[in-house]
């Protein structure tokens, strides 16, 4: 069926399809449409939606709900994400499954509430203290909003960590004509639970890269969850060997599974000297630019990055190998270009990396990208 739909609706539908049953959020343009939809839809399926008194409360409520076993989501924009920061850290440290939608608007601070940008890309990666790895997915259209939201929940469950969906004002609020019958339904993953019998140790893992078994607050076992550096029993620790183990575990449980997060779309009909790499709303201009360039007889490949963090390094290396020119359009000063440059540095021949950047609240046009395809 063909429907007229914005990204907010596609994300909401994807969340419900993934089993989301708790949402808390605070009104903020341009993320509010997700709040409105979730608060309307969740009671119909026996879920809970609540408007917090601020962003700090909203993410806190989600984390509390998640630790009873709920699948929780929240949505915000840059200013709210700033306020989420500490509790994103709790989500990492306490191993809390949680999905956070960031609808990017022009920053810093209050910035431009109704103005599109992609300025939070590195903020998502480094936005809480400690520098531990995070997962961030990035859809380019409504169908991907639907599918990647489900994947975000599955990753959150499997790795018990906050997972971001990086979107932007245009993606969320622009209505698109979409064929919903082709929407992809991903098999639902649930966090691994501890058996009801036997001893339960809340943060015990066999290997550092494992995710601990879950037992809910109010469930069969005595549980203790904490935001502080802890040993496997969730008790505060300063003992270097324990601290090291927990730190390494929080790192390894994401980094050792990087292959699972390599979500990209590589469009390379033939070997091309120029590769354009982009993501989100800007990837749509890139795809149009490539189509126009090819029609004009130019050779170009495109790589759409659907998993911004961890960086899909293998897919990027494969796509960039042999290219002489890499064009990276994005709505910021070149945040993801930094990552592409890191990859390019290790390649021989080393391709030149060129940014196409706008920070004026306007989208990058296909023409601006095509100019860089030689």
């Amino acid at each position: 069926m063909r429907e007229f739909m914005d990204g907010a609706e596609a994300i909401t539908r994807g969340a419900l399809a993934a089993g989301c049953n708790f949402f808390a959020g605070y009104p903020i343009t341009p993320a509010t449409p997700i709040l409105l939809r979730m608060l309307r839809e969740l009671p119909k399926i026996g879920g809970v939606g609540i408007q917090g008194e601020d962003e700090i409360a909203s993410i806190g409520m989600c984390i509390g709900a998640a630790m009873t076993g709920a699948k929780a989501m929240t949505a915000t924009s840059g200013p709210g994400l700033s306020l989420y920061s500490e509790n994103i850290g709790l989500g990492i440290m306490g191993e809390v499954p949680l999905v956070i939608v960031d609808v990017m608007r022009l920053g810093p601070a209050t910035g431009g509430a109704t103005t599109v940008a992609q300025g939070d890309v590195q903020f998502l990666r480094w936005g809480t203290s400690g520098g531990f790895p995070v997962i961030a997915l990035c859809p380019t259209n409504a169908a991907e909003c639907y599918a990647l939201t489900q994947r975000a929940f599955n990753f959150a469950e499997r790795f018990r960590t906050p997972v971001f969906i990086a979107t932007d004002k245009e993606m969320i609020s622009a209505q698109q004509s979409v064929e919903t019958s082709t929407f992809e339904n991903i098999p639902i993953a649930d966090r691994a639970r501890a058996p009801a019998e036997g001893e339960f140790v809340p943060y015990r893992v066999k290997r550092l890269a494992d995710t601990p078994l879950f037992s809910p607050i109010g469930g069969a076992h005595l549980v203790r969850f904490t935001t502080s550096m802890h040993g496997e029993r969730g008790i505060l620790t300063k003992k270097p060997s324990n601290v090291n183990k927990t730190s390494r575990h929080l790192y390894e449980k994401i980094e050792a599974h990087r292959a699972e997060f390599e979500l990209v779309a590589f469009d390379a009909p033939e070997r091309a000297p120029t590769v354009v790499v982009s993501y989100g709303i800007t990837a749509r201009s890139m795809i149009e630019a490539a189509r126009d360039a090819r029609a004009a007889g130019k050779k170009v490949s495109t790589l759409t990055v659907h998993s911004l963090w961890p960086v899909p390094a293998r897919a990027l290396r494969d796509a960039l190998r042999g290219a002489t020119r890499v064009v990276v359009p994005e709505l910021n000063f070149g945040q993801y270009r930094l990552e592409i440059e890191r990859i390019a540095l290790a390649l021989d021949p080393r391709p030149q990396v060129i940014g196409v950047n706008r920070v004026d609240g306007e989208l990058i046009t296909p023409g601006e990208i095509e100019e860089q395809i030689l």
């Binding site: 809970v48 509390g64 620790t237």
Partner: protein, 287 residues
């Protein structure tokens, strides 16, 4: 399923203390994590008394201990969550109430108790406190008010009486303090009581009532901090602070909480100030 039969192995302690010798017959044993004792609180601190009253109230209430969740923030009071043999969540500074709200909404069968201090709940967490009270959210909040930040070194709290000395008010406090009972009542709490750690039986009874109360119930526990607050404000020991409570406490049930300010000197009005019937958040959600 039962927790009573569960063996708790001794765990490494960060402070290197030996594990406490505890009587196998102590009435609170089944509610405490014996492997975590002795606690870190200073001699003369009121937190142990407050915890004891809470556990006494839990036993008396006949609540299913497996269905109680304790949420705490940061600070000396935040350690309570680590000592009780109940499901517990040790959260970021000031945010215990939002986490507790999420727990309660996602699993309404839980009895969710927030056990924290005045700095955590009322300064950094003040916004959550007033809004949870306004919503009449189904939570019991126990606030141990020692008028100061203990764990971080005796800084000014939003409860510190005017002119009191703290490490960040070396020339005396120029702020006016919050009157927590009045704040809770004005924000919409269904149950508000205040006792000192001297009034152990009344405090235990109040916590018991709070645990049974639908909606937002609030118990303020006035508690000594001789190490910091007392030492700098002419009450050098816990005993002196308790003697101060004995001399200055005035029991006035039903008193107007507006009239129950606490100063550096002067009386401490204690009692049950608010106990009203009003639809709780969950009741309104069910309608």
């Amino acid at each position: 399923m039962g927790r009573q039969g569960e063996t708790i192995e001794p765990v490494e302690r960060m402070d290197g203390h030996e594990l406490a010798e505890t009587s196998p017959h102590h009435p609170m044993d089944r509610l405490l994590r014996r492997d975590r004792l002795p606690h870190i609180w200073c001699p003369g601190c009121g937190l142990g008394t407050a915890l004891n009253c809470f556990l006494g109230a839990v036993i008396q209430s006949k609540l299913d201990v497996d269905q109680i969740a304790i949420v705490s923030g940061i600070g000396c009071s935040g350690r309570v969550a680590g000592y009780v043999a109940m499901d517990s969540f040790h959260t970021t500074h000031g945010r215990a109430i939002p986490f507790a709200t999420g727990l309660k909404l996602a699993n309404p069968k839980l009895k969710v108790v927030v056990f924290s201090g005045d700095g955590d709940l009322i300064a950094i967490g003040g916004n959550h406190f007033i809004h949870a009270a306004r919503r009449n959210m189904d939570l019991t909040v126990i606030c141990v008010n020692n008028f100061i930040y203990g764990m971080t070194g005796g800084q000014l709290a939003p409860t510190t009486p005017t002119e009191a000395r703290t490490s960040t008010s070396p020339y005396g406090n120029r702020d006016h303090p919050f009157n927590l009972a009045y704040l809770a009542a004005a924000s919409g709490a269904a149950y508000v009581a205040r006792w000192t750690t001297l009034h152990v039986r009344r405090l235990q009874r109040a916590i018991g009532e709070a645990l049974q109360k639908p909606g937002f119930s609030f118990v303020e526990v006035i508690s000594p901090c001789p190490t910091l607050y007392g030492r700098w404000n002419k009450q050098k020991t816990g005993l002196e602070q308790m003697a101060f409570y004995k001399e200055h406490s005035v029991i006035q049930h039903g008193a107007d909480p507006r009239q129950a300010d606490i100063g550096l000197t002067g009386q401490i009005v204690v009692g049950k100030f608010v106990d009203v019937e009003k639809p709780s958040y969950l009741e309104l959600q069910r309608r």
